[in-house]
Amino acid sequence: MSNLKTLAGLTATVAVVLIGWSCDARRNAVAPTVGRPLFHFHVFECSPLKITGGGRIDYPPGTAEKNPPASHIYETFGAHVIASGRVDANGICLADKGELEWVDHRPEMEINGHPLNLHATSVTFAELATDTDCSDGAAHWGGKLRVQNTGQEDLDFEVWDCDNGEPGVGHDGFGIAVPAIGYEVMCPDPSLPPAEPSCTLTGGNRQFHPTH
C-alpha cells in the first residue's frame, strides 16, 4: 500500500511537470505569411487556445450598429479553432483543428446571383494575440478555404478573432481576409492602439475557452 501511494504521488508529480512544460509559451513562433503584413495584432505567442461560436457582422462599417435590413449589408458565420501550442520546424504555430463557414449577403458580393459562401477546408495555424483590447482572449488563425460558389480551392485565409466579454453582440469581434481573391472584412481602428482589424459583432458570440 505504501508503495502504491508513492507511485501515485510520483505519477502526479510527473503529470504536473509535464503540464507545466506544455504550457510554456514559445513567443518567437509566427503564423505563415499569406500575402499581407500582419500589422494589426502585434504580439503573439504560441500557446494552447480554443475559440468557438458564430455571429453576424454588418460590414461596412462593421460597428456595433446593424445596417438597415433592406440594405442586405451584413455577413454571417460560424467558426472555431483549437490549438495546443505546437510549433513546426518553420516556427509556425500549428492549429489542431478548426472550421469556418462564412456567408456575405451584400448584393455586390453575389456570384451568379447567390451570396458569397466561403468554406474552410483546413485550419492550419493559430496563435494567441496577447496585446489586444479583447478582455477574454484573442487569436489570429487561418488556413485554406474554398469559394463554394465557384469551386476555387486552396485559397489562403486568415482571421482575427476577439472575445471581448459578454454578451458577444457589441463587444466581440471578427475579421477575415482572403488575399488571393482580394476579399476582406476588416475594421482597423487607428484610434485604438494596437489597431485591431476585427469588426464588432451585431449578433452572436465569440467564446474564448481557458485551456488550463
Binding site: L10, A70, G203
Partner: protein, 206 residues
Amino acid sequence: MKIDSIRRAVRSVGLILPLTWSGSALGQMQAGANAQSYGVAVTTATLNQKSPSAVLQVGGMMAVDRASDVTVAELVTAQDAFAIVSGGGTDGSDAVSSATLGTVSILNGLITADGVVAMASTTADNSNAEGSSLANLVVNGVQLSDPAPNTRVDLPGVGYVVLNEQIATAGGITVNMIHVVLQQSVLGGYQTTGSIVVGSASSSVN
C-alpha cells in the same frame, strides 16, 4: 522529518489531483450546449418538411446546411438558405445558431421578404436573439419594418402569423422570424391545422 513532510505532500498531490480531474471531467460531461437552426419548416396533416437544417451534435462544435432553393408545395418558396450552428464542444458553455434566407414567399405571396436572419446566442449568463432581422417584409399587402418581438398579425381565412417570435427555453432561446399558424374555423372557434416557420434559430446551455 523534512523528508517525511515532503513525501506526505507528494502523496497528497498524487491522491487529490486525480480526484479533481475526475470532477472536472464529470462537470464537462454534465454541461451541454444545444443549437439548431433551419430555413423552412412546414407541418400539416400531409407534410412534414424542414430544409436546410443544422443540429449541433453532443459535444460538437459546428454544423452547416445550405440550400439554393427551397420549395414546399404551394406553401413556401425561399432562396439562398443557410443554417449554421456552433458550440463549445465538450466545454458545453456556449452555443450560437443562425438561419439566413434571401427571397421568401409564403402562401403564394401572402407574406414576402427578401432577407431573413434568425440568430440565437447563449452563454452561461445570457441568451439573446440579437442580429435577427427581416428585410422588406410585406404581410397581406402591408409593409412592416422591424417588427417587435412576438408581433402577431391576423391572416383572415388562413390563421395568423407571429413575426420575430422569441421564446424563452430551458437555458436558452428560440427565435422564429416568421411563424404562420394555419387554422380552420370550427364550431365555436378555430382549429390549428398546421404551421409554416421561416428562419428559426435556437440555442441553449444546460
